[in-house]
């Protein structure tokens, strides 16, 4: 690469001088001897260290505050995030908190759109992730290539991981094995109903919800489905919605209110803190 006297290092030498044109376009980064390619030194060179290029697993660099907290280990379980309803924006957070998460592709189908130049076909991938211990996620992505669609769908599935509540059909012996109550979820025309079943029943349902229920860690369940269940996307989403509903259902054992008490000293210091901040709505909505 021709160096002009080796003085032009650093970032893009782009744009022109003000007079010549606001959008006068110079070429960018011509002087860049960096990026592992430059050889000669000279004053004003940005670093030319080699970036690790063939890293098989690049360490995760968090981009959001929640990501940083997870990366530093300040948040240890996914339940802490669920408890405070914090939105999860990075898929690596789930990777870190649920290391034994498995993913499975439910279906890849081509979808078409009519354009002036004929038909455009893209591939839609539906992926379900789950760890078999009460977490399930469902992702749908459409893309021109199959691999891209699958990768995108896996990321979306991880972002949509929710907890699934499991309960008992009768006696509370052993670990929970079925849904805690009859729950229903719907998407489009499909309605899926999950009904608790005694131990040993195994999953009595169509293959699509079966896969989802298995990945969530539900061992026994009866199901009833209505609508056009041939649309796999809607069927899967309806089952996902039904599983999401397990934690929104108020069962008698949750009747007793959890009172979050505070020591008077804390209350006092909180009061000072609140006085400085703008009054939040939450203060008015105190549960006690």
């Amino acid at each position: 690469m021709a160096e002009r006297g080796g003085t032009r290092g650093g970032f893009g030498t782009r744009g022109g001088r003000g007079g010549e044109g606001g959008r006068g376009r110079g070429e960018g980064g011509r002087g860049r001897g960096e990026g592992g390619r430059g050889d000669s030194r000279g004053r004003g060179r940005g670093r030319r260290g080699q970036r690790p290029k063939d890293d098989t697993t690049k360490a995760w660099v968090p981009v959001t505050k929640l990501g940083r907290l997870v990366n530093d280990g300040k948040i240890r379980t996914l339940e802490e995030i669920y408890l405070f309803s914090l939105p999860i924006k990075e898929a690596d957070i789930i990777d870190r908190l649920l290391p034994d998460l498995k993913d499975e592709v439910l279906k890849i189908m081509p979808v078409q759109k009519q354009t002036r130049a004929g038909q455009r076909t893209r591939f839609k991938a539906i992926v379900v992730v789950g760890d078999g211990k009460g977490h399930i996620g469902l992702g749908v992505k459409c893309s021109k290539e199959v691999a891209t669609a699958i990768r995108g769908a896996i990321i979306l599935a991880k972002l949509s991981v929710i907890p699934v509540r499991r309960g008992y059909w009768g006696n509370k012996i052993g670990l929970p094995h079925t849904v805690p109550c009859k729950v229903t979820g719907s998407c489009g025309s499909v309605l899926v109903r999950l009904i608790p079943a005694p131990r040993g029943t195994s999953l009595v349902c169509a293959p699509v919800p079966k896969k989802l229920l298995q990945m969530a860690g539900i061992q026994d369940c009866w199901t009833a489905a209505k609508g056009c269940t041939a649309t796999l996307g809607n069927f899967a989403k309806a089952t996902y919605a039904a599983m999401a509903a397990t934690y929104s259902y108020l069962t008698p054992d949750l009747w007793k209110e959890t009172v979050f008490t505070k020591t008077p000293f804390q209350e006092y210091s909180d009061h000072l803190a609140i006085a400085q901040k703008k009054l939040t709505v939450g203060v008015a909505n105190k549960n006690y």
């Binding site: 893009g12 110079g26 660099v61 300040k74 796999l232």
Partner: protein, 593 residues
Amino acid sequence: MTTTALDMLINHMDKLPVRSVYNVLQNSPRNLHAYLDGVFSKNPNDSRDFHTAQVSLYANYEPEKLLGFLRKAGNYNLQEALAICEVKNLYRETVFLYGRAGNGPVALQIILEQLHDIEEAIKFCRETGSEQLWTRLIEQSVGKPEFIRGLLNHAGSDINLQKLIDSIGADLRIPGLRDSLCKIMQDFNIQMVLLGFIDEPKGGKTGYDDDPSNWTISRIGGQPAYPSEEVSIKLKSCLLCAKCQAEQIFVCQVYCPLEGHKYDRTLYLFACRNPSCWNTSASWTAIRCQKFDETVEESDQIDDAPPATVPVSATDWCDDADAWNSDDNDDGVKIEKKSIPVVTKVKKEIKIEPEIPLSTMTIEDKNEKSSSDEEDEIDVDAKTKSKDKLVPVASIDAFNEWKKTNLKQQTLDSSNSASFPFYYIVIDDEQDVIDEAKLNEKKTLKKKVRQLNAIDEDEDDDSTKGGKEKYEKTPDIEHGDVVFYRFQQKIRYAPDQIIRYDWSGNPLILTKLNANTLSTTQKCRHCQSSCVFEFQLMPALVNFLKIDNQIGLEFGAVFVYTCSANCWNNNNNDLYRFENVFVQADPDQSLFD
């Protein structure tokens, strides 16, 4: 033939086979035409046997519909159709048929001579995509100013601009040349982004450190290196946070001389360490220092610069985005490699037009448009998402308690001598990084893709293939922040980038931004000319701004806008100038406040 009769005939094709009707209607071609037209619109295959006849019928009675028919129908005799169209002087149809027949050059000839439609010609060349055709097109357009202008406007990416411009004679007057050239330069502008990554810290492995007091290196942390002592003395006292008057800490310096500009130029960023001042634009300061450098020649020749990548022209890109998910733009967009010298040559050609400085032209600020477009899209989603949002299980107080125990809130310690750890920055071109990453991905996914292609083939038997499943434009994202999702898509090939440099380009916003918020950065403080976006700091940088192993400074993204005229008063012994900074908070910040 009345419409009721037509309807009856067409709707009862099973009882009244097409052939019998055809035979009967032989005597009245007009009615026959109407009938066959109806049959064809209902189902092209039903009138298969008569397509050739239909060609002549359309040509006689409804020539406007002929092209549509030719495109859709399959069973007509090309030769005959050609003959009919030529007799009737139906040029567009002839062009289409020649294209179908594989006879590109003849078709091109007809377009240029009979139709004089350069855009049609370009479309045709693009569809056929053959190099030869383009060359012929260029040859043909020599000496025809409208053609050249059309070519410049629409075919910027498909042809070798160099050749075209060379072929323009020096004294040829081309109306609207200036606008076409600007458009081309704008197109070039789209993807030449430079990314900065963390390189080793001081005293790192390669053991060959650049002098840390060298002010022409890009780095983060440590102490800033100024072009002269005076600057450091003068600045020491005035780098105070606008909110809390505490002394600001040095974040990074970026060496970024401008093309064709005889100055060494560096930008310095300072921020306030006070946790209550984080994520606010007022607590950041950007300084620009310049020094005249004679050794730089103002060149218009670039000898062996590496070829740069040029995207498809602006309009094509947008079409694609509208039709499908805009995330997948980089998967399929055709990108050609071009040599840069074109741009400088283009500059010379401006002499053809009367000289009007380009800066006075109004080119829309893409900046504002893009953010407002996304805004419109997102509004609907955000609203619905907020309705469905569940109230958190734990009360706000419980959360505050949890925060207290787990996130030790930092208090600003008064040791002013603290500084961030010193790292150099390594710079790479975004396009190269992406290409490389894609290549690596392809290698690792080869096996997987083969497996998946196998799955794909099984689906052919499935009757619901594509029928009931619909394309979903915006992916259904649980957290509802589509803008952040798009941001992540953009950086997915290089998530550890800490600086994104794109002079007069568009900032990559982190979350939804209101259209007015960036207006504070639009004017230069010193010379009142407008400011352009220069570079931004990415959230990945926060991980490296640690003091005593604790995060010392937080932000989402920091956008630096600099004077577009690069004002500097050499004679007046200017030491430094202030620039505008806009800080976008971390998307999660509102939750943790």
